[in-house]
């Protein structure tokens, strides 16, 4: 299902390898209010399993992962 909600923040991690997308996401989402959405842009091929594991651990919501070419768009909602 496409995400219609406008992200409160877009985090560009294109070109960065593991673990930087996870680390930067963990830092960025703490700047949001509970319920707000963060869009992560990443080209690391491991970002999908990493984000699934990270959200399972932290309780944040993995809303969707869309891929356009080499770029993954990961939509995350901060838990509250």
């Amino acid at each position: 299902m496409p995400i219609t909600e406008t992200p409160a923040q877009v985090l560009d991690c294109k070109g960065l390898a593991c673990p930087l997308p996870v680390i930067k996401t963990a830092q960025a989402i703490k700047t949001l209010e509970p319920g707000q959405v963060l869009e992560l842009l990443a080209t690391d091929p491991g970002v999908e399993p990493d984000m699934k594991a990270w959200t399972t651990r932290t309780g944040n919501e993995l809303m969707a992962i869309d891929q356009e070419g080499e770029v993954f768009h990961v939509f995350l909602r901060r838990n509250g």
Binding site: P19, I23, T25, A26, Q27, K30
Partner: protein
């Protein structure tokens, strides 16, 4: 050493040092990832591992040699994540007690090429523990990963 305030505990054990840079980066990567997952995490440095914590080394060694970010970058990322957690738990770097002195290093056969003379030569925040404390940490951890 554990605060028991995290959702889980992972203890990494680093035995390799500056003479084997190809085996030095992964523990920092994994520890940083674990810290980002709000897991309580620590790295125990023994054998040649403490050489990675020298103040004049952490900016020179990285996972890709001279390319990319140095170890200090990942150390900072991980410790910053820990400090920002509500529990206040950081990511401790702990060093085997015997390695803190030249005599202790000699007892371990590590008196050559270790490269540091005291804990003052290591980065800030390094704690020194003995075998009992390490064993306690290992037994209370959810996972112990050795490099």
């Amino acid at each position: 050493m554990w605060t028991d305030e995290g959702e889980g505990k992972v203890l990494y054990v680093q035995t390799h040092g500056v003479t084997d840079p190809g085996r030095c980066a992964t523990p920092f990567f994994l520890a940083a990832s674990a810290a980002a997952m709000e897991v309580e995490v620590a790295i125990y440095f023994t054998m040649y591992g403490p050489t990675l914590l020298q103040k004049d080394v952490v900016d020179k060694i990285g996972p890709k040699g001279d390319v990319g970010q140095p170890l200090s970058y990942f150390i900072k990322q991980a410790t910053d994540l820990g400090v920002e957690r509500a529990s206040g738990a950081g990511m401790p770097f702990v060093v085997e007690e015997l390695l803190a002195s030249p005599l202790g290093r000699a007892a371990r056969g590590l008196h050559l090429r270790v490269g540091y003379e005291s804990l003052d030569d290591l980065i800030d925040g390094v704690k020194m523990i003995g075998g009992a404390a390490f064993n306690d940490m290992a037994m209370r951890a959810d996972a112990v990963v050795s490099f």
